[in-house]
């Protein structure tokens, strides 16, 4: 695809999009001028990604229209969007892992698809050109699966530029980057606006302030605000985002850590691709504390959580839970001993989507004395339990008999939380507990974690959001390439220091 005409003016008018049970976008209108950087802001679930997917040609709007340079356009496929110069860098990269950079780019280049023989020369050339011009070092013959997350993101950027994008849409571009990489990217984006227009989606207000000229705030699928970034402070924007004053709960400290409840020594665990995801990891969690685990995703967090829960075999080293060695124990023994787990993928790992809320709430206890007798389920007790938990945890659903998979993300998380916390665990591993969840639910979840802490449970909080970790933790550990680089007391941890550790830099 050749570079298209510059985009003078892009306008979205009255865009509405419905998904089953929810209206994702309601009569949204916004505008981007040439060379402008527009930040699209809102809580998780506000409709930002959906709106941009419509602009990129992936979804079809139910109502409304798109005007490019004054002309109405209709994008039936992403290819249409690219032809008009609109390219998107998604949050989950759209890169085929076992192909090279050039091959990935060639997929989108019409010229590569002519004739019988695959010709990658043009693709390679374009990659090199774009890479040099925009200062995004990328090797056209590298295989995607070998690249780091930051490198893959660069490839995505180069790819969209090669395919002729004049307006770049970036969806949460910094979610998987270290603070330093983030600063680097934001700087680059700022420089790019001399040639391109940008729309970038974020829920991180400091980034919004750093890069954008204008900001549009979405709330519950509607435009809540539209204005110049420079005219408003971060707290004003935050208030506009949530519609009220929200201060997330903070860990006030106090409470000396109790006994060691979970102890990991020299832990070695293999990842899915056979490599050592955890390479001699040492960590201690005490009762009554929240230990935050900071790190760029992909450094072993998932394998750590899985190993502690007994879902992944431990190659060497030990895991001790309340004094007992659980390195070889099965998940169900570990659960019985009092370990709680809030998994990363709430929809597939936390609940059985087609089971009712009621049934999901007893997923770990159905065979116990309370909910069963002689192998038969005690349905009445299950129902009573569900009603009680629904109230206590503010689970919004019409009845506990509905399928849990139909609930919103925040409510699903509440179901999982309700189940785990009502069991009175001694330790809880929470993996990205507030990812994709709106601020109201986030506040609730944080409060629950803090109250669990005051009940002397130990909580291992694994999160991508530095702010969340810094707000809630007593101590913060940083994981890097399968090892704990350092553990800091919360007071001593600053964004810069953590950022360096996350990038693997240990200060001597």
């Amino acid at each position: 695809m050749t570079a298209s005409l510059p985009i003078q003016d892009l306008r979205l008018e009255g865009i509405t999009k419905r998904f089953p049970g929810v209206v994702a976008c309601q009569r949204i209108s916004l505008e981007v001028q040439r060379g402008e950087a527009l930040a699209l802001v809102g809580e998780n679930g506000a409709g930002k990604s959906t709106l941009m997917n419509i602009l990129a040609g992936l979804y079809q709007p139910d109502e409304g229209r798109i005007l490019l340079n004054g002309e109405p356009v209709h994008f039936r496929t992403p290819a249409d969007a690219y032809e008009h110069g609109i390219g998107m860098v998604h949050q989950n990269f759209m890169l085929v892992p076992n192909m090279t950079v050039a091959e990935n780019v060639a997929l989108g280049m019409r010229s590569a698809h002519r004739g019988l023989r695959l010709d990658l020369r043009d693709a390679r050339r374009r990659v090199t050109e774009a890479s040099e011009h925009y200062e995004l070092p990328v090797n056209p013959d590298a295989q995607i699966w070998q690249l780091s997350v930051g490198e893959q993101q660069r490839v995505e950027l180069v790819k969209t530029l090669c395919l002729g994008a004049r307006l770049l849409i970036l969806d949460e571009p910094t979610s998987a980057l270290t603070p330093q990489e983030t600063d680097d990217l934001l700087g680059r984006l700022k420089r790019m606006t001399s040639e391109l227009s940008l729309i970038f989606i974020s829920h991180k207000l400091n980034e919004v302030k750093a890069v954008s000229d204008r900001v549009t705030i979405l709330r519950h699928g509607e435009v809540a605000f539209n204005g110049n970034t420079a005219d408003h402070s971060t707290s004003e924007l935050a208030a506009l985002m949530t519609g009220r004053e929200v201060t997330l709960p903070r860990n006030e400290g106090g409470g000396a850590g109790g006994r060691v409840i979970l102890s990991l020594e020299g832990l070695k665990v293999r990842g899915d691709r056979g490599h050592l995801a955890l390479d001699g990891l040492d960590l201690e969690l005490r009762a009554g504390e929240i230990l935050g685990l900071a790190g760029v995703s992909g450094n072993g967090q998932r394998e750590l959580a899985d190993a502690v829960a007994g879902l992944r075999p431990v190659e060497s080293g030990s895991v001790r839970f309340d004094g007992e060695d659980i390195s070889r124990a099965s998940p169900h023994v570990i659960i019985d001993r009092g370990m709680g787990y809030i998994p990363e993928d709430r929809h597939h790992e936390g609940i059985v989507p087609s089971f009712s809320v009621r049934e999901n709430l007893v997923l770990k206890d159905f065979a116990g004395a309370r909910f069963s007798r002689h192998g038969l389920l005690r349905l009445g007790e299950m129902q009573r339990n569900a009603s009680a938990l629904k109230d206590r945890f503010d689970i919004r659903c019409s009845s506990t008999a509905v399928a849990a998979g139909t609930l919103s993300g925040g409510n699903i998380q509440k179901v999982i939380l309700a189940r785990e916390l009502s069991r009175g665990p001694k330790a809880l591993v929470a993996v990205y507990p507030t990812r994709g969840v709106d601020m109201g639910a986030e506040e609730f979840i944080h409060n629950q974690l803090l109250s669990l802490r005051s009940e002397s449970a130990g909580i291992l909080l694994i999160s991508e959001e530095l702010e969340e970790i810094m707000n809630l933790s007593d101590r913060i550990a940083v994981i890097y390439k399968g090892r704990i680089l350092d553990v800091l007391a919360s007071r001593q941890a600053s964004r810069e220091r953590l950022g360096l550790l996350m990038a693997g830099v240990v200060d001597e």
Partner: protein, 372 residues
Amino acid sequence: MSRWFRLLYAATVIAIAAGAAVLAGTLVLTLIGARPLATFGVVFSGPLRDVFSATEILVRAVPLTLVALGIAISFRSGILNIGAEGQIMMGILGSSALALKLSGWPGFVLLPACLAAGALAGAAWGGIAGFLRARFDVNEILSTVMLNYIAGQLYTFLLRGPMIDPAELMTGSGTPQSMRIPRAAWLDRLVPGTRLHSGLLLALALAFLTWLLLWRTTLGYRMRAAGAGRKAARYAGVRVERSLVVAMLFAGGFAGLAGAVEVLGVHHRAIEAISSGYGFAGIVVALFGGLHPAGIVPAAAFFGLLLVGADMTQRAEGVPANMILVLQGAIILAIVSANMYLNNPYAQERAARFFRRLGLARSPAASAEEGP
């Protein structure tokens, strides 16, 4: 979406599925020069003409029900049992072998023992596939299909060799069949003059027990969780691999029992071609019955009707009996396609909006039911 609309939607989709099957059947019938209308007429009304044919419907329905119940258990547990054909054969071999071995024993012991033997043989055969899946992650569709062929060869081998009726050897006719099993092991006839036997009661009882198992016991909960949400089940401490094996044991056991029931109730000896496609037909019955005992029982009766009717068409309209395979295939394809719409909330929404525009359905309550 209102309940009423959802039911209407489901009914429409099933009707479409049935319609597609009828279409496929009609096409093939026309191709071979038969008269579609007359043929379907024979299929649906022929069996109802006299008592004997009517009871034949139930005779066919019994093994179909048993196989389908087992398949429903396995499907809901996340493992696709396509091996019922082979498991039925194992059930036949197990039950008839035991019956012949213990021929002197009294009925009240022999009969249950033979039924159990059949069920165990089938369970073991099914268990192989379950084990292969649990331990080696072998695709169970492939393994059960292979096991079908292996079972077929084993069956033929035994019936031509070690288990052949000595009378056949003496007369030299060499028909591959076993000796008649002792009268003590026979299932009683319910209606004199017909082949309908007490296996029917067994099938109905097992339908109830299957429902109980799946929805009222902890074991059933475990299996359904493993089937409906494998990852979540694992995270909750359910031993998913074990669950898969147990599901296949049940599925194989039910199929084996179906085989035993056919021998002890209908044919009274092991013969060739006894399973006659019940294994595959059972899959169709299970799907048609929505993988639920309450749906499977009527679906099995319906298929019994189709099977008896199909036999009749051979004589009446010159349509080969294996025409039924065409219908089964078409029904499966239609149902799984239609199911996608049944279970897909996106498609349901689109359809709901479509009907709303036509003014045929009420609009849903104002906003989404739940808050943030």
